[in-house]
């Protein structure tokens, strides 16, 4: 009897539509986040992460309605990220039915915000998203830094130290994305995943770079991640969540089957 490692499909949503393309074979309206969340829920996803990449503030209202619609129909945990900058943003998403919010750049610009958020709403619903990029060269001791603006702007902040600090500030979980690996389909950056996972007392979700099922298993077995997040391998119907779980379980990983 043990806690299961989690598989978390991620939806990138812009103005109420899933972008980056989602191609389940049997979904007519491929862009409807509610329908897609429902499918993942039925397919055995352990949680769903919903990343709002809507640019303007006005369009956020659409996101609130989408979250409401998902939460009324999908009875597994739902994390909403993207554009969470103020306590009010968190309240709005939690009231809409999100179980957790993911704070990304706002944490970098104002670390106290994480403390505030955790004190107000509890660590259980505060995920800190970390976008890390390797800055050490070949043969050097590996070192990763936090990047903002979709991986374009370096901050000079050491990723492992940052994760430790965020845990101390009351984050309940770390969502770690390797900006080097994101979209590459060559697997997680296992080095930074392992380094952060060993450094913090809270769960770590590995993200960025999944191209096949072995990558998911490696995230747990070699990276020490507590959960693995992936988008395209599930969206494009390459693998189902059930296949991923069976594959990981066959390697001795505790899964909810």
């Amino acid at each position: 009897m043990a806690l299961a490692k989690r598989i978390i499909p991620c939806l990138d949503v812009e103005n109420g539509r899933v972008v980056k393309g989602v191609q389940f074979l049997d979904i007519r309206d491929a862009g409807d986040p509610v329908e897609i969340a429902r499918r993942y829920n039925e397919a055995g996803a352990d949680e769903i992460t919903f990343l709002d990449i809507t640019a303007s503030h006005e369009e956020r209202e659409t996101t609130v309605h989408t979250v409401e619609a998902i939460a009324s129909d999908v009875f597994i945990p739902l994390t909403v990220g993207g554009g969470i900058r103020k306590v009010d943003d968190i309240r709005r998403m939690l009231n809409a039915g999100a179980d957790k919010v993911s704070i990304n750049s706002a944490a970098v610009f104002n670390p106290e915000f994480v403390k505030q958020a955790s004190d107000r709403f509890g660590a259980q619903c505060i995920v800190v998203a970390i976008d890390a990029k390797r800055v050490s060269g070949e043969g050097e001791t590996p070192r990763w830094e936090i990047f903002t603006h979709g991986g374009r702007k370096p901050t000079g902040i050491d990723a492992v130290e940052w994760a430790v600090r965020m845990a101390e500030y009351g984050a309940g979980e770390i969502l770690l994305t390797s900006m080097d690996q994101d979209g590459m389909k060559s697997g997680f950056d296992l080095g930074v995943t392992r380094a952060i996972s060993e450094a913090v007392p809270i769960p770590v979700i590995a993200s960025g770079g999944v191209g096949n099922l072995q990558h998911l298993a490696d995230g747990v077995l070699q990276g020490g991640a507590d959960a693995v997040l992936a988008a395209s391998i599930f969206h494009f119907g390459e693998y189902t969540v059930a296949e991923a779980k069976a594959y990981m379980a066959a390697q001795g990983i505790e899964m909810r089957l």
Binding site: M1, A2, F75, Q124, G172, P201, D226
Partner: protein, 216 residues
Amino acid sequence: MSQTIAVIDYGMGNLHSVASALQHVAPDARVLVTADPAQVAMADRVVFPGVGAIRDCMAEIRRLGFDELVRAQVASGKPVLGVCVGMQALMDSSEENGGVPCMGLLPGQVHFFGHDLHEPGAVERLKVPHMGWNQVTQVAHPLWHGIEDLSRFYFVHSYYVRAASTGQVVGRCHYGVDCDVALAQDNLFAVQFHPEKSHAPGLQLLRNFVAWKGQP
């Protein structure tokens, strides 16, 4: 006549999920998220949720006079379901926040998982909070009807309940230590996990609750 289910709102966290899951399993019921003691008193059954820090929860519960309200609901014999910190608030006291006296409706204490949690003999440090899907060992009770023993439920907590006597324990889970994750006493049922987030087994438990007569 359709029944009314009151979800007690004392300002601590998001009750949307609990309410929508109840509505999902009981489409004909009136599900109220309410801070109005009169509405709670008139409801046919009551859900007592809670998230966040126990000190803040207990402070709000006491400020609003809801400890007496919950006590009265339990005493009335109507089915009452405590969830997560709602369960912890029913215990005698919690170690959290330097020690917080709770409502004492169920005998037992709430303990911290600790900063150095391991399975006996294992090197790997277990993460806290205990977050995710873990198996629950059941002890026969009507609220487990139709749910396979060792089904997984969704947990997220850093403190766990240890009941004073085994008599009330109807669900156990293991995460470095043994935790009592479901307790029952007459018309009161309390769970550490989130049934509203636990997919099919969670919804089945809520379905059982809305049909429950409040007897063991």
